[in-house]
Subunit: 128 residues, 2 copies
DNA sequence: AGCAATAACAGTAATCGTTACTGATTTTGA
DNA sequence: TCAAAATCAGTAACGATTACTGTTATTGCT
């Protein structure tokens, strides 16, 4: 099922690579719609899933009920502001050592972990 | 809006305290239905949310699209088997130190983190 | 360039987990 | 025992996502 080029997919990827935000499918839809006024929401969802599956973008499940997407695939951690809901990248040393800590008293095999941090972002923290 | 007793809520809580699994709302529904054959799924959802809000149970968002619930409210980490999907508790030293590691180059305020580990559970590991 | 095969599309209907609404039932404190 | 109010069962509605259908775009080949 050889992958074929599509400008819609290209536009979606471009947008994700360019932004520092971590938009939801709907936000991607709203944005790409400026260039492709009659792109379908289904197309956005299909391509986001496809791009995530082949590893060109990252799907973030932050537990807020809707998936977010990240154009950056290099491993890094995320921060969610409990005040304004913004998602930002964290520059952090690798935390892979926690896999071993967690595995000490565990009989199975730990391959990895999912972690995100929460609190108040710089902007919201300033205001209080 | 003083909280009133209800046997349905009691049954839901009992079940969650008794099990080591981390059931979804639907599983809770299926189980409690044995005792209350015409309990409503809405009642299950409402009480799970209520119990989680007052801190008598914990809501787990594991990124699999459906919430899981844990009758144990003591802080601990969870492990998800990528093979069979089971969720288990991990006995682990506190990992709160990662909050500081993550906060080093961050301007906001980090209150906490959400972490779960994944890999192969003991059962599935044995079989391979 | 022209063409057939097929991936990708737009549009829409369907699905799934969850929440909100409604009129009937329980619980509770007086 | 009784009335106020929380909770219920049942069902409709919701938002995010996926699946389906007939049309369009891309591709490799001649």
């Amino acid at each position: 099922m050889a992958l074929k080029y599509s400008r819609q997919r290209e536009a979606i990827k471009e947008f994700l690579m360019a932004t520092k935000e971590h938009p939801t499918a709907d936000t991607v839809y709203m944005t790409v719609r400026k260039e492709f006024p009659n792109i379908s929401l289904g197309t956005v969802y299909r391509n986001l899933s496809l791009l995530a599956d082949i590893g060109e973008i990252t799907r973030l499940r932050l537990g807020d009920g809707t998936d977010h997407f990240d154009g950056c695939t290099a491993p890094h951690y995320h921060f969610i502001c409990m005040n304004c809901g913004s998602v930002s990248d964290l520059e952090t040393d690798s935390l892979d050592s926690i896999n071993e800590i967690a595995g000490k008293k565990f009989d199975g095999l730990i391959d990895g972990h999912v972690t995100y941090f929460y609190g108040k972002c710089a902007n919201c923290h300033k205001k209080s």
